[in-house]
Symmetry: C2
Subunit: 364 residues, 2 copies
Amino acid sequence: MTHSEARSVTEAVTERRERVNEAIDEELPIVRPERLYEASRYLLKAGGKRLRPAVLLLVAEALGDVEPLSTNYREFPTLDGSAERGSANDASGQPRAPETIDVMRAAVSIETIQSFTLIHDDIMDDDDLRRGVPAVHREYDLETAILAGDTLYSKAFEIMLESGAAPERGLRAVRTLARTCTRICEGQSLDVDFESRGDVTREEYLEMVELKTAVLYGASSSVPAILLGADQETVDALYRYGLNAGTAFQIQDDVLDLTVPSETLGKQRGSDLVEGKRTLITLHAREAGINVDSLIETDSVDAVTEGEIDDAVSTLESAGSIEYAREKAESLVREGKEELAVLPDNEARAQLESIADFLIERGY
Amino acid sequence: MTHSEARSVTEAVTERRERVNEAIDEELPIVRPERLYEASRYLLKAGGKRLRPAVLLLVAEALGDVEPLSTNYREFPTLDGSAERGSANDASGQPRAPETIDVMRAAVSIETIQSFTLIHDDIMDDDDLRRGVPAVHREYDLETAILAGDTLYSKAFEIMLESGAAPERGLRAVRTLARTCTRICEGQSLDVDFESRGDVTREEYLEMVELKTAVLYGASSSVPAILLGADQETVDALYRYGLNAGTAFQIQDDVLDLTVPSETLGKQRGSDLVEGKRTLITLHAREAGINVDSLIETDSVDAVTEGEIDDAVSTLESAGSIEYAREKAESLVREGKEELAVLPDNEARAQLESIADFLIERGY
């Protein structure tokens, strides 16, 4: 990917970011008890790319075959003119309002779930920082952070329920959301279990990544199709697009940890190795006979030298482990992009392809 | 209430408990990752009266005007023959299955939410024991307890979504559930805020109790009406029944803490006073000019004497504070029972009246 391509991908996301942020302000106002809602909003205000909402909005635009950014996300036309608000009788006997869906609410709902998982994950990992600011349990306290996450959890359902979709579609969207949340919890649990196990396989690792990270991308790409009334084949293909792209995203994160200079990463390169974190790379290396645990003797990120990291990376490169992970991510993105064939051939679809590429070609 | 009446109320609940427990086993099986699901089920297995599920099932029985315990809760007839499963075409062209609702799933969903809130509340209050066993974050660890609660949260939505109700009704039930969860979080947040405030009013306290405790009773009593297709007036009246009964239940808890012998309570009588907890009783007393903070000088439950408690209770009695709380609970129960007039006059309705009485007339 050239630099200008990378910028245009970023644009597809950033062009929607401000509108997503405005919608977050509207859907999650700071109401009484203010401290709870301020804590709930703290991480959302601190930043975030809004990648998942962008995917969701772009899928709607691709399905609707509209010019990107040309349509009001709050009143997005369904594919067949069916919507909840249209099914009610107009009291004045006038022609009913056009059948539209508030796809922005669905986008905010997904981002709200993402934020809830980050708040609780930071507690579980006892992380101090997130998006350059203190984690919620540091800025506030443990109790408030648990409760802020719990509040976002139910607010995400409340928001998703008000998309205006026809009832069967609204139900299916909420089912997807609930099932997704359960799977995220299962993935996080597997991740915790893996820390104390020496025999994790690549298949198990990929399953964990799929559950912990990728299913929320799957929800982002399939929920708009459900709400707008796409057929089941389309919904399923879009889900697989999100699942593959999300899995590739996480694998690429592991590659970047080893291959990008510390100053670009914003943290010590190779910190996953120092902390003994299992990744697809180290699992491949272990299966190739490398003693992964002794690759880096220093057990502190502050004390490790670039030379130690360089040597470890060389060993992993010789074993083909980094290339293996890179190729796995690439093949997932390739397969994911193929699923987009269910969409009309338009600009929004092209941007969804670019986002999948971006997930593995980004420099950091 | 006579002793035999108290027993029959207990029976209305206990007669349903075993079936609720069997349904919990079915709806929340221990699947992979097992440790997560075992932790999620730990508190549910440890006990619980299943009061909320009993209320939900009894409302269904009262609405359906059926003999209590005579009907299969998994295939409960709707009031108008409308249900999701009935709306699908039968592939073989045979007459469709009777339109029925799995009201037991709704009951399990509510109990699952209750269990999630207990797990997270115990973390927030750093409580060691619950239902005579270690709290989940003690039996397992903090990470597992947060995650177990989060898992129950989404499972509750998944379970509620599979009641078989017609889509609009299913959506309304899930809306009620989501809104209820948000309000429980708001109530818990207010409770935490109140600990550091000296100027809490009785109105604020009652609002907190309503949000933290009573709304889940409101959901228990209104959701079956929504799923079975009762009219809005009935749904609203049943919600108010639950809300009033749930508020009375919490107020009565505060009264019992002062009036029931320690050996019956299973903990030190007056422990709320020793710990400086705000209750409707102490808020009334403070407004009556009593220096509540100096009622008990001892600041440890282990060191306080029965004599100190007796003196404090005498002071609160002289101020009319205990009687005030008792009367408030009684009037809430009276108003709640009046709401049941929307139900047919039958045995299940009588049992719902008895449960409301039981909530404030129970000895402990």
